[in-house]
Subunit: 301 residues, 2 copies
């Protein structure tokens, strides 16, 4: 059996009881180690908890070395552990397809991921549109296809979850060119950097998918003991120090209900200002007010 | 401490290790019992697993009796268990607000919910728009505000998750009028009924937010041992017997990528027909094809 097991967000004990039972009977255990990290547990702690060695799987191994990962999984139990839920990232769907094609039985053990745990900021999951990813800009590469997606969401009133880039086990261009297996220290995008990139692209485009005054929710270390929420405008959050990673951001949509707003007010020192910011931002993309028809037919009332 | 703990989707062992540790030290344990059910575990099994009695909490208790639920939670440990993740339903956000206002510390232990586990059908969570709910139509009440939301999602190419109504501990109008505490047997909407309601409203509106030929994914018993996926058009799925509850449905958007489609083909006996259905449906809301400008300036090439 090939087990695909979600680890949840933070602690080693965030694995489900069923997930832990499966891990304990597995012959080989891989931990996917490039799309996210488990905030409160290192590899060694997991190994002690499982009573088994854990193999870190980087992007190359998962995308090109799936034969190695799936080896003997038709006869023995193997586990592939993923921070969050196994179906957050495309490449794991691919791994399941490969396993099925090789006639290997697959069992998925789900867990919380940022995609649903984000609800703990008080915004309703029902009111979220498509999720976007923000990558680290470089001198030559400043992709902004997410801009149109945020725009699409906001036109129909929806919140947007922005997932922030992480770089684990990346080589510098120089080391890559010289074939040196030296890796850069891991990097995790901060909320302030994300907001700066948002502001830069809005300034370049100027079509007001959002503005510097659009309210957003800064989410740091979701699911960890020191999880923190902070609300503010995008400009305010571009100056906000959210502390240790991992960070994510939610850009508010017009459909911000009363109960949602009440919950968000817990995360600001200036409730009155935030309420005003939300009210002002809701004017964007607001449907035109209803105008009574010019000629009314009294009989219809 | 007031613990709000997600139970995941199906088995008693779907609770996280951290969640189980918390439950075991709690004085009182409530199980929210009206927005969803744990498919593979009855109350008695949970009580045996936890070594503690479990109190079933119906809508009335949660919405009006929160004082009872929160009683002494400032001094002792209390747990409120929710199938899926605690932040799926609005009323639980409300419970957290009440606890905070009463100065009671709150800890949330997340878990998988249909909102993220739906990714296991092979469709990418990134490509989902807002989620909608489908309620049981009655003779006098056939709400269809979800129609516009599906339309909004599909106009921008996104998939729509449709959550199906469940009725647990409901009284008949007669019993309610007579004040008799007699409850109807629980009812869970089936995929076929959902599709019939979709077709009825599309016929009434006629604006083609989707058609009878729009492809969809029928999801039954997500996360359980007998979990099943089936793809087909909405009309085909209106005839489909998806078996035991719980059911959900995903209506496809135009942004159906190759890998998504390849995964979905596992769930049909007629791949060629399904591919054609998807291609035909993608014509709806397709951006107009690019037309070269009338006067070209060769120098610009």
């Amino acid at each position: 059996m090939f087990y695909l097991i979600g680890l949840g967000l933070s602690y080693k004990e965030d694995i489900t009881v069923r997930g832990l039972e499966a891990v304990k009977k597995c012959e080989r255990i891989y931990l996917e180690h490039y799309t996210s990290i488990l905030m409160a547990a290192e590899k060694e702690e997991l190994e002690e908890f499982y009573g088994k060695p854990v193999i870190l799987a980087d992007r190359e191994l998962v995308e090109s070395g799936s034969d190695e990962i799936l080896l003997d999984a038709d006869k023995k139990d193997m586990a592939f552990l993923v921070v969050g839920d196994p179906f957050g990232a495309t490449t794991h769907t691919d791994l399941v397809l490969r396993a099925k094609k090789a006639g290997i039985p697959v069992e998925v053990i789900h867990n919380a991921s940022v995609m649903n745990a984000v609800g703990s900021c008080g915004l309703q999951l029902y009111n979220f549109g498509q999720t976007v990813s923000m990558v680290f800009f470089t001198d030559n590469w400043r992709p902004d296809s997410w801009y149109d997606k945020i725009w699409e969401n906001r036109k129909i009133g929806l919140h947007t979850l922005v997932l922030l880039d992480i770089k684990v086990k990346e080589q510098s261009l120089e080391n890559m060119a010289r074939g040196r297996l030296i890796y850069e220290p891991p990097r995790y995008m901060s909320i302030s950097q994300c907001c700066e990139q948002l502001l830069e692209i809005e300034e370049a485009r100027g079509t007001k998918a959002y503005t510097k005054d659009t309210p957003a929710v800064a989410i740091s270390r979701l699911g960890a003991a020191n999880q923190t929420f902070k609300v503010g405008t995008i400009e305010e959050l571009s100056q906000y120090d959210a502390g240790e990673p991992l960070h994510s951001l939610v850009i508010l949509g017009r459909q911000c209900h009363e109960l949602e707003l009440e919950y968000l007010l817990e995360f600001t020192d200036n409730s009155e200002k935030f309420k005003k910011d939300v009210a002002a931002d809701q004017e964007y993309f607001k449907p035109a007010p209803w105008v009574p028809p010019a000629e009314e037919d009294d009989n219809e009332l």
